[in-house]
């Protein structure tokens, strides 16, 4: 069974939600890994949870990029291991340069906490390989700085894939569906290879019907199936 590793930093606050979702709901092995750890040996999928690491000081995610665990994280990301950063985890991936772009305050200037719909734009990543292109997932967001900005070379799609976009119930990309004002309705983006995904909505908060949606679970089932098929092929990621 794939081993998940949930990293946590001073100020992370979704680490136990992720742990619960993976360990209890999916029944997969999962370790909580403190940011001072210098090895990620034995981990098949790295999860960087949401929260306010280092109090969002300077810029959200800016200080966490210098934590010791980020060195093995970089090696894993470059060697093709699936890495998912959720909310503040996404901000950390962007600040550490593992994903392109940056975040500014939500255009509403408000902390936005609500359900959103996101449309799957790219199924060639470990986290979306069992989903359909165009499939709409119901996932919640909770952030103050979810306003994603692409780098100024904006039109070049080299080195990145847009994986999730905010949309209406039927899948239409509208500004009403975009909770933060993010460029191009971007809710989730991956590196060129597709193994490193950052997303603002919280899949771990939509794992059980009791919570209002089970759609987040689909993304983790997808990565489990991806890892299993890689292992079956005898490939090491």
């Amino acid at each position: 069974m794939p081993n998940f590793g949930v990293l946590f930093f001073p100020g992370s606050n979704c680490d136990h939600d992720c742990y619960h979702a993976i360990r209890k709901t999916l029944g997969q092995p999962c370790d909580l890994i403190w940011h001072e750890e210098t090895s990620l040996a034995g981990i098949d999928c790295v999860v960087i949870p949401g929260g306010f690491s280092y109090g969002d000081y300077l810029r959200a995610g800016a200080i966490s990029q210098f934590s010791p665990v980020v060195s093995p994280l970089r090696e894993f990301a470059e060697s093709g291991v699936p890495v998912i950063g959720i909310c503040n985890g996404f901000q950390i991936l962007v600040e550490s340069g593992l994903l392109p772009g940056a975040f500014i305050h939500n255009s509403s200037l408000k902390f936005v906490c609500r359900w959103t719909n996101v449309r799957v734009e790219d199924t060639d990543t470990p986290f979306t390989c069992t989903l359909r292109k165009g499939e709409v997932l119901k996932l919640p967001v909770a952030n103050a700085q979810g306003n994603f900005v692409l780098p100024p070379d904006g039109n070049s799609s080299q080195g990145r894939r847009i994986v999730l976009r905010y949309c209406g119930d039927g899948g239409a990309l509208t500004s009403e569906a975009n909770p933060s004002g993010a460029e191009d309705n971007i809710a989730g983006i991956a590196n060129g290879r597709g193994n490193v995904l950052g997303m603002m909505p919280h899949p771990e908060r939509s794992f059980e019907s009791l919570l209002g949606s089970e759609d987040g679970k689909k993304m983790f089932e997808s990565v489990i199936s991806w890892i299993k098929s890689r292992n079956a092929d005898g490939k090491t990621v």
């Binding site: 300077l58 392109p100 772009g101 940056a102 939500n106 004002g181």
Partner: protein
């Protein structure tokens, strides 16, 4: 070794929308201040540094800005150095 006061200003690039600046602009006009056409909000970081020359301090401050104090994707920075 000399002591220097280093003042680093970090601002969003002109092409990046500044939601905080927009809110400040709206608040100012709400308070009755007329004639304000734009507002941008930035950050100031003040450092006290030791070194041999202002050139050396400038090089270090520049590197600090690129590595941590600013995000080059969305922000510009400027450095002001004064010997104490």
């Amino acid at each position: 070794m000399k002591q220097f006061s280093v003042k680093i200003e970090v601002k969003l690039k002109a092409v990046v929308l500044d939601p905080q600046g927009k809110a400040v602009l709206n608040a100012l006009s709400g308070l009755g201040f007329s004639g304000v056409s734009d507002a941008r909000v930035g950050k100031i970081v003040e450092l006290t540094m030791e070194g041999e020359s202002s050139e050396e301090i400038g090089r270090k401050a520049d590197e600090m800005c690129r590595k941590l104090l600013s995000n080059p994707v969305i922000e510009d920075f400027s450095v002001e150095i004064m010997e104490k």
